[in-house]
């Protein structure tokens, strides 16, 4: 049925309409809980400023530029807030939609369309919280290269949005999925933060390693670290392919990996 539909006139218009419907439904579901909308603003404010205040009390660390601890704290808070928000958003997008997606499959939605609608919703949430986090950061620590900084934050959010969707597809229970996301993001962010004098090759395996470096260079130096950007984009592509593959195999298969 899907092959016939794809070759019929207006099939692409129909596909676009289905995508729009799916995305609009998810946005409505999100904003129906007002606290979710408040979170988009409050979360970056609390995390960025909280990290800044906390780090400001630390003694000078030998591997951090003098007088920059509070700024480093805010920078790390910004990445942490967007990565975690996007990760949990992706997780709950997939978990809460699992049964609905099964029924939508029966109604004619393709698995790719379902994944795309979930992903686009995560991306929209990512863009909003990235803007909010950067705005909060810029209040006290204006980035030297704001557009590059926005791109770096969005990269961090997107990679974890995809990881959240992957975790949600594999572990479709809120408690288990949340535990995994909490530990993944916490661990990754702290090791990638540059606040510890770490020199281990395994650090490059963590998804936030390159976005962190890209973001720091954009905020403090105004430079674009192209190699870090390329590595970060590679992570996004890999995460996207894996998430899509797992999602497609699970959807329309009763939720079990064949």
């Amino acid at each position: 049925m899907s092959e016939v539909a794809s070759s019929a006139p207006g099939a692409s218009a129909s596909r676009a309409r289905r995508l729009r419907t799916g995305i609009a439904a998810q946005i409505r579901a999100f904003v129906r809980t007002p606290v979710n909308v408040v979170l988009l603003i409050a979360l970056p404010l609390v995390v960025v400023e909280g990290y800044g205040i906390a780090m400001d009390a630390f003694p000078q660390l030998p591997f951090v530029q003098a007088g920059r601890l509070a700024e480093m704290g805010r920078v790390n808070g910004a990445i942490y807030s967007v990565a975690f928000f996007a990760g949990v958003l992706g997780l709950f997008q997939v978990i809460s939609a699992r049964q609905a997606d099964e029924r939508l499959r029966i109604c004619g939605y393709s698995r790719g369309e379902l994944f795309a609608s979930r992903l686009i919703t995560v991306m929209l949430g990512t863009l909003v919280i990235t803007g909010a986090a950067l705005s909060v950061l810029a209040w006290r620590t204006p980035p030297e290269a704001p557009i590059v900084a926005f791109g770096a934050l969005a990269l961090a959010a997107l990679v974890y949005g995809l990881i959240g969707m992957l975790v949600g597809a594999v572990l479709p229970r809120a408690l288990e999925g949340s535990l995994v996301m909490v530990f993944l993001v916490d661990f990754d962010d702290f090791l990638s933060s540059g606040m510890l004098n770490l020199d281990s090759p395994i650090l490059t395996l963590f998804p936030l390693h390159f976005p962190h470096k890209l973001f720091r260079s954009a905020v403090f130096e105004g430079s674009i670290a192209l190699d870090n950007a390329a590595a970060g984009v590679t992570y996004v592509l890999v995460a996207g392919v894996v998430a899509l593959s797992v999602y497609v195999r699970l959807t329309g298969n009763g939720g079990d990996l064949a």
Partner: protein, 234 residues
């Protein structure tokens, strides 16, 4: 009943065992071999290995993180069922005790596993008060997690239960800070973390801070109990 639910979800049990082990294990592996000055209650300024101080903070942090998330979801999933059980005649006190026990068990597992992994590198000087303090902060955040599960949405609750323990235990209570921010004194992790650090690095521990630590526990439990009863009534 609740413990059987844990047993029926092997993935959850595996995660409760694996995640703290992974976190603490990899952390102590990658930390550099360097020393840092810290401020230990009752002992003043000491110079310790980086892996020791971060390891000592990670144990109560794991308890708080896992306890908080477990408390959040235990309540989110339980209130509908518990309302029906209450109508069926099960006493609210029994229900509440069952839910709180689940939270405490999750925190206890997290502390136990974290400590076991940490012990391959560093063993706290006074183990009993260290474990007690870590469990107290885990259960306190577990109770705050149950409160969050009753008051805010799932998404907001997850954010709260991630950010609050991290900021509190790992940053604001960090003993590398000589003059702590005024806010640190009012946070739930203040007294338990103070005891944990004292127990980790000195052989004699001041037991006084356990009073306010248990006070925080009682307040968190009281608030969670009130919110729970109101949720059952609704």
């Amino acid at each position: 009943m609740g413990l059987r639910e844990y047993a029926r979800t092997p993935v959850l049990l595996a995660l409760l065992l694996f995640l703290p082990a992974y976190f603490v294990g990899v952390f102590v592996y990658v930390l550099p071999t360097s020393s840092v000055p810290i401020y230990v209650p009752g002992s003043g300024r000491l110079t310790v290995q980086t892996v020791e101080i971060y390891g000592a903070l990670l144990v109560p942090l794991m308890g708080a993180l896992i306890g908080g998330i477990a408390g959040l979801f235990v309540m989110l999933s339980a209130t509908d069922a518990d309302a029906r059980l209450s109508i069926a005649g099960v006493g609210p006190v029994s229900l509440l005790a069952a839910r709180f026990t689940l939270v405490a068990v999750a925190g206890l597992i997290a502390v136990g596993v974290s400590l076991a992994v940490l012990a391959t590198t560093f063993v706290p000087e006074a183990l009993v008060p260290f474990v007690l303090a870590s469990v107290v902060v885990g259960v306190t955040y577990g109770l705050l997690g149950t409160l969050a599960g009753l008051v805010v949405s799932r998404l907001a609750g997850v954010y709260l239960m991630l950010i609050a323990p991290m900021l509190d235990v790992f940053f604001f209570q960090n003993p590398m800070i000589e003059d702590a921010h005024w806010l640190a004194t009012y946070l739930p992790g203040n007294f338990p973390t103070e005891i944990a650090v004292d127990a980790a690095f000195s052989g004699s521990v001041e037991w006084g801070p356990f009073g306010p630590a248990l006070g925080w526990l009682a307040v968190a439990g009281g608030l969670a109990a009130v919110a729970y009863y109101r949720a059952l009534g609704a």
